[in-house]
Amino acid sequence: MSHLLEVRDLEVKFALRSGDITAIDGIDFTLDQGERLGIVGESGAGKSVTGFSIINLISKPGFISRGSIYFEGNKISDYSDSQMRTIRGNRISMIFQDPMMTLNPVFTIGFQMIETLRAHKKISKSDARAIALEKLKKVQIPSPEERLDQYPHELSGGMRQRIIIAISLLVNPAIIIADEPTTALDVTIQAEIMDLLQQLCETEKMGLILITHDLGVVSQVTEKIAVMYAGKIIEFGPTDQVVHSPVHPYTTGLIGSIPGSTAPGEKLLQIPGMMPTLSNIPEGCAFNPRCDLCEPICTRKTPPLEKKQNGTMAACHIKD
């Protein structure tokens, strides 16, 4: 096993009253030690579900219906819940979207940090407190000592997200999964938090899976990109390649819609139409109703994710 994390043919379904819907439809990707991967795509594409399925925490009617996930050579998709707890928050940490909702309002920051450490390590409370303090310093929070005894509501959103980053550093994470970690913050803070995350991943040699809508952020922070559409990865490759010479028409559209990607004064491109809901994904390529290049084969056959000329993987019949 050479990869730190390997997701193979992952399929996730939600058991709804009207029947099962497939939210993740057979995706593959890998992550190596210290590598940073971005997952981008429209709302509902399945980015968050992908992130949560790695630590087996998909919300209720959801379940992994096929495929496997390997972490450090172990098939963690077969782990029991108690085995999984030795991974969660310990080897794989998560950062959620809204720092205002992520911390428990009735416990102090110190309490929430110390309990995390003590869930994974046999150490005394005072040792745990010392480590918590050290990590708070690492995320450059002002007056870290005071923070330990404060409650979440006493801190701003940016500070809370720093604290959550500190929590994810507490034990010895190999991977941080950050699900839109800056969406709920204002723009100046967003950049600070992203810088901090990137810097920490570099110094601590941690892998990062950055889930976001924002191709701009991803292109600055990550080395690889997976573009998701309707539960599938439709393009996967080195960030530079994907951003500068995208293959899939959907990726091209996404990049065209980033401010700054077109000449000043020119209209931003926009992908016409909307992503289909999971219950009525069109036959063939899920993107075909919105695609300029659509040909008869696109409505009949699902394109496989395959290597294209520029070295990236893409799922498109037409482009190569």
């Binding site: 630590i55 925490l57 919300s59 707890r85 030795t86 991974i87 969660r88 928050g89 310990n90 940490s93 998560m94 959620f96 809204d98 909702m101 992520t102 911390l103 428990n104 309002p105 009735v106 416990f107 309990e115 995390t116 869930a119 994974h120 409650y151 509501h153 006493e154 959550i164 929590i167």
Partner: protein, 327 residues
């Protein structure tokens, strides 16, 4: 926190003033202290003189201030029915009612917490389903019916529990004021049926409240995050979810115990329980207005006190309230 406590206490004082004013106004209008004192066999002239001596013809405000002045010193007038100071009558009946309420609160807490939490964590289990249907039944059954049913089953039919009075009590402080039923087996047995019927009103409500609060909390982001941190189920449920569940429940508990108190009157009647409710009914029957008003003032003070304490306790468990209070 300090400012918050002061503010709550000031609010409590204002509420008490309003209530005492209402109580006094009633007493002033329908009560007849002269009759309370000497009965009917006195001539109108003598009555008028007595009324004058007692200051009953003074302006309303002066009389009210005098009433407050006495009340603060612990003098709430005399009961002609018992021929004792009202406060003494009330405080002799209070322990019985307090013990009834304590037993009821204990039953509610001991049963609703585990059942509410269990049915939130395993809503599809047999126990949870049973709890839910049983509590539906409990909610729709009036207290007197529950009481009579309990008496029929346990006292009349099975004959294993007493249904009348307080049984054997122990004088707690040796001064005759607090006779407790908690220290003897007989006293405890006498508590069971009245407490069960009294708790039957609030118990289903609390089970449902705890269950729905807990289910809501379990869906929150911070609980999902607690799982993502790798915490054990015991910790996620009993520490993270439980404390957030309790917050609203504590406030509701304070209010509901107030309502439960109102039901003690009925319960005490059914079980011939010599408490404040029993005393109240007697005072109503014999038109002892003075005692009734004293009862009103005492009960209102207790309510205000309990609510204030509950709010302050809530302030301690919920850090966000504290901040609001100190601003």
């Amino acid at each position: 926190m300090f400012a918050f406590i002061i503010r709550r206490i000031l609010q409590a004082v204002v509420v008490m003033l309003v209530i005492s004013l209402m109580g006094f106004a009633i007493k002033n209008n329908i009560g007849d202290p002269v009759r309370d004192l000497v009965g009917e066999r006195v001539t109108p002239a003598e009555r008028a003189k007595m009324a004058d001596d007692m200051g009953l013809n003074d302006p309303f405000l002066i009389q009210y201030l005098r009433f407050i002045g006495h009340a603060v010193k612990g003098d709430l007038g005399r009961s002609f029915l018992y021929n004792k100071p009202n406060l003494e009558v009330i405080s002799q009946h209070a322990p019985a009612t307090i013990e009834l309420l304590m037993g009821t609160a204990l039953i509610i807490v001991l049963i609703s917490l585990p059942l509410g939490v269990q049915s939130a964590l395993q809503p599809k289990s047999k126990l949870a389903r049973f709890t839910m249907s049983f509590s539906t039944l409990g909610i729709s059954m009036p207290v007197f019916l529950t009481a009579i049913l309990l008496i029929y089953v346990f006292a009349v039919h099975l004959q294993i529990l007493p249904s009348f009075g307080r049984g054997e009590t122990v004088d707690l402080f040796g001064n005759g004021y607090w006779n407790t039923g908690f220290l003897t087996r007989d006293g405890l047995e006498h508590l069971i049926l009245p407490c069960l019927s009294l708790s039957s009103i609030m118990l289903p409500l609390f089970i449902r409240l705890i269950r729905s609060e807990m289910m809501e909390v379990l869906e929150t982001e911070y609980i999902k995050y607690a799982w993502a941190k790798g915490l054990s189920p015991a910790r996620v449920w009993m520490v993270h979810a439980f404390k957030n569940t309790l917050l609203p429940v504590v406030t509701v508990f304070g209010v509901q115990m107030g309502i439960t108190f109102a039901f003690t009157i009925l319960t005490e009647l059914v079980f011939q329980w010599q408490g404040m409710g029993f005393m109240f009914l007697e005072a109503v029957q014999r038109a002892d207005i003075s005692l009734l008003i004293a009862y009103l003032v005492v009960v209102a003070s207790v309510f205000v006190l309990v609510n204030t304490v509950v709010d302050i306790v809530y302030g301690f468990i919920n850090p966000t309230v504290r901040i609001v209070g100190t601003r």
